[in-house]
Symmetry: C2
Subunit: 555 residues, 2 copies
C-alpha cells in the first residue's frame, strides 16, 4: 500500500532484551531476583547486565561470538541470559552434569570464546581446558563465579584457578554507559543449547532473538502468568533457557527465586517464604514433591501454578499434586522448540469429571501454545495427517516461529529435521477425537515384539500406578523368538518391596499380555540433569542381558 | 551461524489469524460470541469466517484489496476482523457516526471494493454511493447485514436496498474447503483505520499483520487477561479494531459479548448475565457508569477489569469506578499505535496510599506495554529527552513494532510523523521522577496566555472535581491583551446548578490565577463517536466569541 514506510519508528528486531529494559523502567524498585540473602531490583539487574555486557565486549567479545556458561540456578546465570545477548553474543548454557570430556567437546564445537563457570564446577572446566590444550585447540577464557555473599572459597581449595578472572570483578569492570548491542536482525542467534543427549551425540540447537521473544510470551500465557509473578527456579536455566522463562519472567516483571539445589525441603521453604506463584519442573520433581517426608512439607501460601513437561507425567502423580494444591500445567516440547511447544489446556467442563478421568485427560500433551502456529500427527513418509481417532500412531510434527533456527554446523541435520516443511520431533503420538495429541513414545523407544508395537510409555504408566514403584522405565530386550520383549527397570519407594513376579503380575492385570514386561530389573535409573531417564543406557544394559532363556520365552 | 535454515518449519509471518485457528482447535466447543439470543462456538466462528473469506474471494476480492465495514459491535463486525484478512484483504472499519459525505470520501480514498453495512446505517452508505456516482467514481459493492435472529426488516423500510447482497446469504455462499490466504509477509496490511478526526482531515492509518499480532498480545497482557476471559464489547470495534482486542480475545479463547448499543443498563445487565471479566471504554463510558441511576445498576458478579483510555480519566472518576468494584487499567495510545501503547501499570506499594493519591498516580499514562519498545518525552526540535522532573513539557514519542506502517497515499505525512526515527504523537506531556509519563495536552490544545503555557487538561481536571460538573473542556479564547485566555465549556449534572462566577471562583481556589478560566459556557459538548470531545469545534466557537471586554481582561 502506498504511504507505508519502514524505519526505526515502527520496526525493531524482536528481542527479549526489551523485557529487561521495560521491567527496569516500569518496576525498577521491584525485586527481580532473590538468592539466599542476596537480592536485586530490576533497576539493579539492568545495571548489572549492562556492566556485564560492557565487560564482555571489553574482553573482546564480538557480535555472534559464543559465551558459554556452566552454573546452577544462581543470579549470574540469570544475568548472563540478558548480558550475553546485550553484548551481541550467543549464550551457550551447558548442563552441569556433563563431565570434563563432554564439556571440552561442546566448547570446541561451539568455539566459545569465554566460559563462565560456577565455583562448584570449576574442576570440570579445568579438566575440559586441559583436554583442549592437549588437543592443541584454542581454549576459551575462564571466568569463575564465587559463591555470593560469602568469602571466595575456591582460592583455598586444592587445584584452584586463582589466576582466573572472577565474575563480580569482571562485572565491575564494565561501564554503565555501554551502548547495548541490539540484534541487527531478529533472526540473529541469541542462544545455543545442546540437546541433553538422551539418545545420540549432542547437537547444538540455535535459538533466535525472535523465537526467544515469542516463546517467552507464549510460556507466560500458557502458565496464565499475570504481571508480577514470583517464580521459583527448579527447572535448570541451562535447560532450554529455563523453558524460555528466564526471559518470560522479565516480560512480566516477576521476581526470580534462585536456588542452587532443588531438594523438596528447599522447594517447600522457598514457596512458603517468598509466596511463590509459579514454578516448573520435570515429572521427577513432581515425584519428589509428593513423596517428600511430611516434616519437609509446608502448606502452600496460595495457588502455585507448576508447569511440567519433558516426559508425560503419570496420572496418579498429577492427581496427587493437585490434591496438594498445585495447579499443574502440562506442557510438551523439545530443545528444538525452545522448551514448551504444546500445552494440555484445561477445559472448565473437565472440572465435573471424576478425578481419575481428569488426570488422564490432563496427562496428554494437548495442542500448540499461542506462539506456535501448528502441531500435527503425521505419517513421516507420506506426510499425511493421522485421523483424530486416538489410535493411529504418527510422528509429532510442529511448525512455527518458536522452532529452532537449526543445528550448529550441521545443515544436513537441520534440513533432515525440517524435511517437508515441518519440524520432525522424533516423538510418536496419536490425536484424540477432541484434537489433543498424546505421546506414545520416542520413535526409537517403541518396542516391537512379535510384530506388535508396544508403547514403553503405556507400560510405564501402569508401573507407576503400582503402590511400591517410585520410578520406572521400559525398554526392549532382545529376544530370539519375539525380536524384543519389554524389560522394566524399576526403582522402588523407600521402605517398599516387590518382587519381579509381583510387578509382572500387576502389569498383566492392567495390560494386554504381550505388553507386560517379561523381565524386571530393580535399580536407580540413570538420568540427565533435567530429570529425563537416559533410556539409551538402559537399552545397552538390556542388550547386554541378551535373550531370555527359552523356557520362559513363550507368552 | 552455520547450520541455520529458514523455511516453513521455523518461520511463518505473524498474523492474528492463527489466534482464531488455535481457539477453534483447542476450545472448539467454547462460546466465542454472544449477541442477544445468538451465540457461536469458536469452531463455528472459524467455519463462518472461512466461508465468509471464501465468499469475498469469489466476489473478486484480491490480495491487498480493501473491504470496508460500517457496523456497531455485532457478530458480523467481529467476524470481518478475521474473514477479511483470511481473504488476503484489508479491513477498513468506518466510524458509524460518519455522515454520508464522510463515508463517500473514505470509500473513495481507500478504494474499497466492498462495503459491508449494518441495516441501521444503510441509508448512510446509500447516500455515500449516490455521492460517489455523482462524482463518477468507482463504487463498491454493498453487502447489508440484517438484524440477527429477526426477520429482515430493511426490505420493508423506505429507500431499502433490497437489490443488495445480504450478509448471511453471502456467507453461506462461501466454501468450507477454502484455503486461507495467509500474509506473504508479516508486514502486509491487515487493516486501515481512519483517524477519528478531532482536528484535521481523517488520515488512513495502515496496520500490519505483525503489528496486529503483537499489539493484540500486548493488550491481553496489559489487561492481565488470563485464558478464557469474558469480554464485553463497549469500545467500538471500528476504533483501532477494538483497541486490538478483536484479535486479542481470540488469542485467549475468550467469549465476546456483543451489544448493539452501550447504555448503562445494557452494560450492567450483560456484566451480570454473562459474568463479564474484562471490558473497555472511554472516560465518557466510565462517567455513564458512575452516574447511572441506581435502578439500572447491578452488583458486579466478580472482578471486572476495565481498560480505559482515549483521554486521561479524571481522578475522581477513577476513584468512583474502583469503589464500585471495577479494576481500572489506564492505557494511552492513538490510532497510529493500534490503540493501547502505554499503560499506567499499578504498583503494589500504591495500595497503602490515600485514595486521592492513588487516583492521581493512576490517572497518568505510564510507560510502554510489553510489545512497544520505547516511549519518551522529547523536545520535538532537538529530539533531546526531557528530564524526569514532572515539569518539563515535551512531545510524547514512541517507537516499536506496534506503530503503524504509515498513512495511506500520504508518504509525506508518514515521513513527517516518523521524522527522527520516532513516531511523534502530537501529544504533550511530562515525565515524572518515577519514569511514568503524564499527558499535558495535545500540541494544538495548549493555551498560551501572556507567554505562559496552560495545560487545558489540568484546568479540566479541576473542573471535573467540581460537584456539579458532568463534563468539561477548556480551550483558548482570543484575547487582545493576553493572546489567549482559558475558556471553559461545561455540562452540568442533571439537577445541578452553578453560575459562571461559581466555576471561576472554584478554579481560582485550586489553580494558579492565570490558569483559571476567564469565561464559562454551559452546553452539551460535541463528541466524536469514540467519546472524545471535539475541541476544534469549541475552538471555533471561542474564536467567534472574540476578545473579552477590556475591563475584565486584567488578571
Amino acid at each position: 500500500m502506498d504511504g507505508m514506510d519502514r524505519c526505526s519508528a515502527n520496526y525493531l528486531p524482536l528481542t527479549p532484551i526489551t523485557f529487561l529494559e521495560r521491567s527496569a523502567a516500569v518496576y525498577g524498585d521491584r525485586i527481580s531476583l532473590v538468592y539466599g540473602r542476596v537480592q536485586y531490583t530490576w533497576r539493579e539487574t539492568l545495571l548489572r547486565c549492562t556492566r556485564l555486557a560492557s565487560a564482555l565486549v571489553r574482553m573482546g567479545i564480538a557480535r555472534g561470538d559464543v559465551v558459554a556458561a556452566l552454573a546452577p540456578n544462581i543470579p549470574a546465570m540469570y544475568e548472563l541470559h540478558f548480558a550475553v545477548p546485550m553484548a551481541g553474543a550467543v549464550l551457550c548454557s551447558l548442563n552441569v552434569r556433563h563431565d570434563a570430556a563432554m564439556v571440552s567437546t561442546l566448547l570446541s564445537h561451539s568455539e566459545a570464546k569465554i566460559i563462565v563457570v560456577d565455583y562448584q564446577f570449576e574442576h570440570i572446566v579445568m579438566g575440559a581446558i586441559k583436554a583442549m590444550s592437549e588437543r592443541r585447540e584454542k581454549i576459551p577464557l575462564v571466568v569463575i563465579i564465587n559463591e555470593y555473599d560469602q568469602p571466595p572459597s575456591h582460592i583455598d581449595r586444592e587445584g584452584s584457578a586463582s589466576g582466573y578472572l572472577e565474575f563480580e570483578s569482571l562485572l565491575e569492570s564494565g561501564k554503565l554507559d555501554f551502548k547495548i548491542r541490539r540484534p541487527k536482525d531478529e533472526l540473529d542467534p541469541i542462544a545455543l543449547n545442546y540437546t541433553s543427549g538422551t539418545t545420540s551425540r549432542p547437537k547444538g540447537v540455535i535459538y533466535s532473538h525472535r523465537g526467544a521473544y515469542l516463546n517467552a510470551l507464549s510460556a507466560v500465557l500458557l502458565n496464565d502468568m499475570c504481571s508480577l509473578p514470583v517464580y521459583l527456579w527448579v527447572v535448570p536455566m541451562f535447560h532450554c533457557n529455563g523453558w524460555s522463562l528466564t526471559w518470560g519472567v522479565a516480560a512480566q516483571s516477576g521476581t526470580n527465586i534462585c536456588q542452587r539445589n532443588a531438594s523438596a525441603k528447599e522447594i517447600f521453604d522457598n514457596i512458603s517464604l517468598h509466596k511463590v506463584t509459579h514454578m516448573g519442573g520435570a515429572p521427577t520433581v513432581l515425584n519428589m514433591i509428593i513423596n517428600a517426608p511430611t516434616s519437609e512439607q509446608k502448606p502452600l501460601p496460595g495457588k502455585v501454578t507448576m508447569m511440567t513437561g519433558g516426559a508425560p507425567p503419570p496420572s496418579h502423580v498429577l492427581f496427587k499434586m493437585r490434591a496438594m494444591g498445585f495447579l499443574i500445567v502440562h506442557a510438551y516440547g523439545l530443545t528444538e522448540t525452545y522448551g514448551p511447544a504444546t500445552v494440555c489446556s484445561w477445559k472448565p467442563e473437565w472440572d465435573s469429571l471424576p478425578q481419575d478421568k481428569q488426570a488422564k485427560l490432563s496427562s496428554r500433551q494437548g495442542l500448540q501454545h499461542v506462539g506456535l502456529e501448528e502441531v500435527d500427527i503425521k505419517d513421516p513418509v507420506t506426510m499425511e495427517s493421522a485421523p483424530a481417532d486416538g489410535k493411529t500412531i504418527g510422528e509429532v510434527m510442529v511448525r512455527g516461529n518458536t522452532v529452532m533456527s537449526g543445528y550448529l554446523k550441521d545443515l544436513k541435520a537441520t534440513r533432515e529435521a525440517f524435511n517437508g516443511g515441518w519440524f520432525r520431533s522424533g516423538d510418536l503420538g496419536v490425536r484424540h477425537p477432541d484434537g489433543y495429541i498424546e505421546l506414545k513414545d520416542r520413535s526409537k523407544d517403541i518396542i516391537i515384539s512379535g510384530g506388535e508395537n508396544i508403547s514403553s510409555i503405556e507400560v510405564e504408566s501402569v508401573l507407576f500406578s503400582h503402590p511400591s514403584v517410585l520410578e520406572a522405565a521400559v525398554v526392549g530386550r532382545p529376544d530370539d523368538h519375539w525380536g524384543e520383549t519389554p524389560c522394566a527397570f524399576v526403582k522402588l519407594k523407600d521402605g517398599c518391596s516387590a518382587s519381579e513376579e509381583d510387578i509382572i503380575k500387576f502389569c498383566r492385570e492392567h495390560l494386554p499380555h504381550y505388553m507386560a514386561p517379561r523381565s524386571v530389573v530393580f535399580k536407580d535409573l540413570p538420568k540427565t540433569s533435567t530429570g529425563k531417564t537416559q533410556k539409551f543406557i538402559l537399552k545397552e544394559e538390556a542388550k547386554a542381558m541378551g535373550s531370555l532363556p527359552k523356557q520362559t520365552s513363550k507368552l
